[in-house]
């Protein structure tokens, strides 16, 4: 399934990789656990003979080598997993500032809605229109409380914090309509803090933008 944005492509492939790893590892652990539970179940009476442990017994069971080996295996596994995501993080955060075609939008979060300011200084509230295939750079802030800006379908997300500017970017591959949502509880209107993202064909966008700019 092709995602509607490059960021979503990357995110989904990463997610699937993690999911496969997690399911495999958990399955192995669960298989061992179930095997052990069945293999070593008590077949006798309720209180089988003397247990191995004794109060005051400092001697250890098991070998340190196993523990060290386990630590190294888990370390390689987990650190390998996590560092493999740094390139994805960099891609998702690397703002394409040098791209001359990029569209710069200022995003203002407020209780409860989104206001978008275009380079021409005009604003839209509750709707963001952008051309397809062009990177859009967002300067996100909030005028009141802590909000989180997100386009869930694109896997774009950034906190909107009063007094701070945060940057995010996205690129819609195809024309279409998507949802912008708030992902941090921001008061009673949190659930309805939505906006419409309209990714348009570039020509259509040009036409609309010209009209939008020339309007009073």
């Amino acid at each position: 399934m092709a995602a509607p944005a490059p960021s979503a492509d990357i995110w989904h492939s990463l997610f699937n990789f993690y999911l496969t790893s997690a399911i495999t590892i958990s399955a192995v652990v669960f298989a061992i656990m179930i095997y052990v539970l069945i293999r070593y179940r008590s077949r006798g009476e309720a209180n089988p003979g003397d247990p191995e442990y004794r109060i005051g017994d400092l001697s250890q069971r098991g070998s340190v080598k196993v523990a060290i080996a386990l630590t190294i295996i888990l370390g390689v596994l987990f650190l390998g997993l996590t560092t493999s995501t740094f390139s994805a993080m960099e891609f998702m955060e690397e703002i394409p500032e040098d791209n001359p075609d990029a569209l710069h939008i200022k995003v203002l979060a407020f209780q409860w809605g989104w206001r978008f300011t275009y380079p021409n200084g005009k604003t839209l509230t509750g709707e963001l229109r952008v051309p397809a295939g062009v990177p859009v750079i967002l300067e996100i802030t909030s005028q009141d409380v802590f909000h989180t800006f997100s386009i869930p379908a694109f896997k774009v997300k950034k906190d909107a914090i009063p007094g701070r500017i945060n940057y995010a970017w996205f690129e819609g591959k195809y024309a279409g309509e998507y949802t912008i949502r708030c992902y941090e509880l921001c008061g009673v209107g949190h659930a309805e803090m939505l906006a419409r993202l309209l990714v348009m064909e570039p020509e259509q966008f040009e036409k609309w933008y010209e009209e939008f700019s020339s309007k009073g």
């Binding site: 960021s7 990357i10 995110w11 990463l14 993690y18 997690a22 958990s26 652990v29 656990m33 052990v36 539970l37 070593y40 179940r41 008590s42 209180n47 089988p48 003979g49 003397d50 247990p51 191995e52 442990y53 109060i55 005051g56 017994d57 400092l58 250890q60 069971r61 098991g62 070998s63 340190v64 196993v66 523990a67 386990l70 630590t71 370390g75 987990f78 650190l79 997993l81 996590t82 995501t85 740094f86 994805a88 993080m89 009141d144 802590f146 989180t148 997100s150 869930p152 997300k157 914090i161 009063p162 007094g163 701070r164 940057y167 992902y183 941090e184 509880l185 009673v188 949190h190 659930a191």
Partner: protein
């Protein structure tokens, strides 16, 4: 369950005034289960709201309040207190002690917990309802401007009292576990529950005060009008860092007790030693240390420095390693055993299984990149419920079944217990597993559109929620049924007497846990009960006991009867003091009459407590005969004071860091920080510094006097310290009134807010010190101190030194730079 001598006291009085660790444990148990029901019902109400799209069962405001209260109750009033119930009940027995180190402080922890719970419940009835900002209480939604309801402030105060209760408990457990162990009971010999609880206590020691810091700032913002979270210099990130700096140790505080019980039960019911116990404990310590350096993973989307986020990404992922090691060691423990599938064992296995799933979903969350999707969604909700409920609470339920016969002397219905397990597991997984599929659905939205397609999954989740809730009805029925007609339990129903000490004493244990006049001794051969004389008499072979300064064990000096109303183990003051605190603070919201009454009760209880001490009406039944490593050389009271001081660093450290953050931000935002001498008079500040330095000297001289038995020096030193402290407060008061007269108030700007709150907290410490000094001075004039008995003076000297040390930083920060 009282000892014979107390049977004639009214049972209500016993429960209100008890200081016995087992009674306190049962009080904790009952109260925490009550809050579990309250928080569970809150969860079901908002689950009903989410069952179908565009539902209108709850309003947005009611929904937000329910979500917030559910989170706060579960985190603060349910999980840790439930773990505390077991810790109180079994840890003194497991380490071989007759009671906690400070029984009255133990009772105080409980009553403050209850007081905070009453305040939290009352906040629903305050004008405008309770807090509705989510348990994370993000700034600046938590400020008066955006959440004006009084209940929010009351909830903040309730949490402050709860944290105070936990800090008292922390100190008590630290002294108890380190210093009251039986002869031969080395730390590594303790069952996992005691070891894990000790580590939990270390997390609490610094994490809870670190939460106290932002809460004090928040309540100041809401009540005094300071501007910490509304000004851009402090604001959202200040709260975020301070909250999560507490927040991540906190999740291990919630998890570790349940995880520990799981391990103990796996060993007991397989009859096998724990696999590589040293490695488990080592991994635990590593995880505990790491827990202090992972909190930024809650802030991956805040736009802070990418390098910082990558570093915290790695530390977060590192935490999987120790927990992976613990999990595998648990599974390996079972190998070669004869596994008995009793109810506690089933819940322990269930806890381990759920924890594995929670751990796996946690790996996703550690990645910054995946956070672009996960942050703030139901995926996260699913993850932390699998770890905290799945790993933590399931483990605690296993523990309740495990220790139930010990605590009540009754067995429960095993068949129903197994049925409970089945319903619990189905309900749990139906409730939380589908949440992973909602990785786009925001948390804490009260309504969603049908077009999102989230409806069917939410329906499933709610059904799971009700099934899970039903499993608790069965659970409580099993417990009540056991109390009513359960068969009498033997001392050791689980064949665990070789595992830990509590299964070697009657069910329930006698008042002082062990056979009359005997104490447990651990030798290489195992557990023995020996008479005290035998131990004090001389070195016992095979015991590494170091005999502490011998205190006369538990016999009132006047030979008085222990049945008196103020008998040795009953004290009304922890209860009365806590109710005074609750009434005073509730009075702030519900009327001045209550406030005045509360203050009177509070002050009266302080006097009463002091009087009880001066008259030596309360006797501590403990003897410090055994293992005390590594705190052999510190006396219990002094050690307790040190632990308190370490906790204070956990409070003042974050406060000073807040100062640093605000001050550094101020240079970016162009805020004009007052120049030295511009607002705060350097001469007055220096005068106060001199006063405090001098009082430090006089206090040291008083201690020297006490050690040498020079009563005059002791008294003169204490009185001089008192006077100097009082003058300090007077100068401080003068400064404040001058500033107010100039129009500089709490909310004038962020620098004024910082000044008032930081010096105010310090001033409150001075005031508390003066109150303690009054007690010491009275005691000194009554001849209560001698060269061999002066721990009170010594402990106070440490406290006063800390107050001095804090001022050593406050003076330059506000007056000089």
């Amino acid at each position: 369950m009282e000892g014979k001598e107390q049977t004639r006291v009214n049972p209500l009085i016993v429960w209100l005034f008890t200081t016995n660790h087992k009674n306190v444990g049962i009080l904790y148990l009952v109260t925490s289960l009550y809050f579990l029901v309250v928080a569970g019902i809150l969860a079901l109400t908002f689950r009903i709201q989410l069952t179908v799209p565009e539902n209108n069962f709850l309003t947005a405001s009611a929904y937000n309040q329910a979500v917030t209260a559910h989170g706060l109750f579960m985190l603060l009033w349910v999980v840790t207190p439930l773990a505390s119930a077991f810790a109180n009940y079994v840890i003194p027995i497991q380490i071989g002690a007759k009671d906690m180190a400070f029984p009255r402080l133990n009772a105080l922890s409980y009553w403050l917990y209850l007081a905070s719970g009453i305040m939290a419940l009352s906040s629903f009835f305050a004008p405008g309802g309770t807090a509705d900002w989510g348990w994370t209480t993000y700034a600046p939604l938590n400020t008066l401007q955006y959440s004006p309801q009084a209940g929010g402030s009351l909830m903040g105060l309730a949490i402050i009292i709860l944290l105070s209760s936990s800090i008292v408990a922390t100190i008590n457990f630290m002294v108890t576990i380190f210093r009251l162990r039986a002869p031969g009971m080395k730390l590594m010999l303790l069952p996992l529950f005691s070891i894990f609880w000790l580590v939990t206590i270390f997390l609490m020691l610094w994490a809870f005060p670190a939460f106290l810091a932002p809460l004090i700032l928040l309540v100041a913002d809401r009540v005094l009008g300071t501007v910490f979270f509304t000004s851009p210099e402090g604001g959202a990130l200040l709260w975020d860092h301070l909250l999560w700096f507490f927040g991540h140790p906190e999740v291990y505080i919630l998890l570790l007790p349940g995880l520990a019980i799981t391990g103990d039960i796996l060993a007991v019911f397989s009859g096998r030693k724990l696999y590589a116990k040293k490695v488990i404990v080592g991994a635990l310590i590593v995880a505990a240390i790491l827990s202090y350096i992972v909190w930024v993973h809650h802030m991956f989307m805040t736009g802070i420095h990418p390098g910082l986020r990558e570093a915290f990404n790695i530390t977060t992922e590192l935490i999987s390693i120790p927990f992976g090691v613990i999990t595998i060691s648990y599974i390996l423990t079972l190998v070669g055993g004869k596994i008995r599938f009793t109810t506690p064992m089933l819940f322990a296995i269930g806890a381990l299984a759920l924890f594995i799933i929670g751990g796996a979903s946690g790996v996703f969350n550690s990645s910054v990149a995946l956070n672009f999707g996960m942050r703030g969604t139901f995926w996260v909700v699913g993850h932390f419920h699998y770890t905290i409920v799945g790993g933590g609470i399931t483990g605690l339920i296993a523990g309740l079944y495990y220790w139930w016969p010990k605590m009540t002397g009754r067995m429960f219905n095993e068949k129903l217990g197994k049925l409970h397990f089945i319903i619990y597991m189905i309900g749990f997984n139906l409730l939380y597993f589908p949440m992973h599929a909602l990785y786009d659905m925001p948390r804490r939205i009260y309504v969603y559109e049908a077009a999102t397609g989230w409806g069917p999954i939410n329906m499933l989740i709610t059904m799971g929620g009700f099934l899970f809730g039903a499993s608790f009805i069965l659970f409580f029925w099993i417990l009540l049924d056991s109390l009513r007609r359960g068969p009498v339990a033997s001392d050791d129903p689980w064949n665990a007497k070789n595992y830990s000490i509590e299964w070697n004493v009657p069910s329930p244990p006698p008042e002082f846990n062990f056979p009359e006049g005997k104490v447990p001794v651990i030798t290489a051969q195992g557990l023995e009960f020996r008479s005290i004389n035998e131990i004090v008499g001389g070195p016992v072979s095979g015991i590494s006991a170091r005999i502490g300064p011998s205190k006369a064990p538990n016999i009132p000096a006047n030979g008085g009867t222990p049945m008196e109303h103020h008998g040795p183990h009953l004290s009304p003051w922890p209860f009365v003091l806590s109710m005074g605190v609750a009434m005073t603070l509730l009075g702030l919201f519900f009327g001045p009459g209550l406030l005045i009454l509360g203050l009177a009760v509070f002050i009266g209880s302080l006097v009463g407590w002091g009087w009880e001490d001066l008259k030596e009406r309360f006797h501590v039944a403990i003897e410090a005969l055994g293992e005390k490593w590594p705190f052999d050389k510190v006396e219990n009271h002094t050690f307790a004071m040190w632990v308190f001081v370490f906790g204070e660093i956990g409070l003042f450290g974050p406060l000073f860091m807040a100062y640093f953050f605000v001050r550094a931000n101020a240079s970016l935002t162009g805020f004009a920080w007052p120049l030295p001498g511009q607002i705060h008079d350097i001469t007055l500040g220096a005068l106060n510094t001199i006063l405090l330095f001098t009082s430090g000297l006089t206090m040291s001289l008083a201690l020297i006097g006490a050690k040498r038995g020079e009563e005059d020096l002791l008294r003169a030193g204490l009185v001089a310290t008192f006077i100097l402290g009082a003058v300090f407060l007077a100068v401080k008061g003068f400064e404040w009134s001058e500033l107010f007269a100039e129009g500089i108030t709490f909310g004038s700007d962020i620098s004024a807010s910082l000044y008032y709150v930081l010096t105010g907290i310090h001033g409150a410490h001075v005031l508390a010190g003066l109150i303690a000094l009054i007690y010491l001075i009275i005691k000194a004039y009554k001849g209560g101190f001698s060269p061999h008995r002066h721990v009170g003076v010594e402990a106070f000297a440490i406290y006063w030194g800390m107050v001095d040390a804090v001022w050593m930083f406050l003076f330059p920060l506000f007056y000089l730079i």
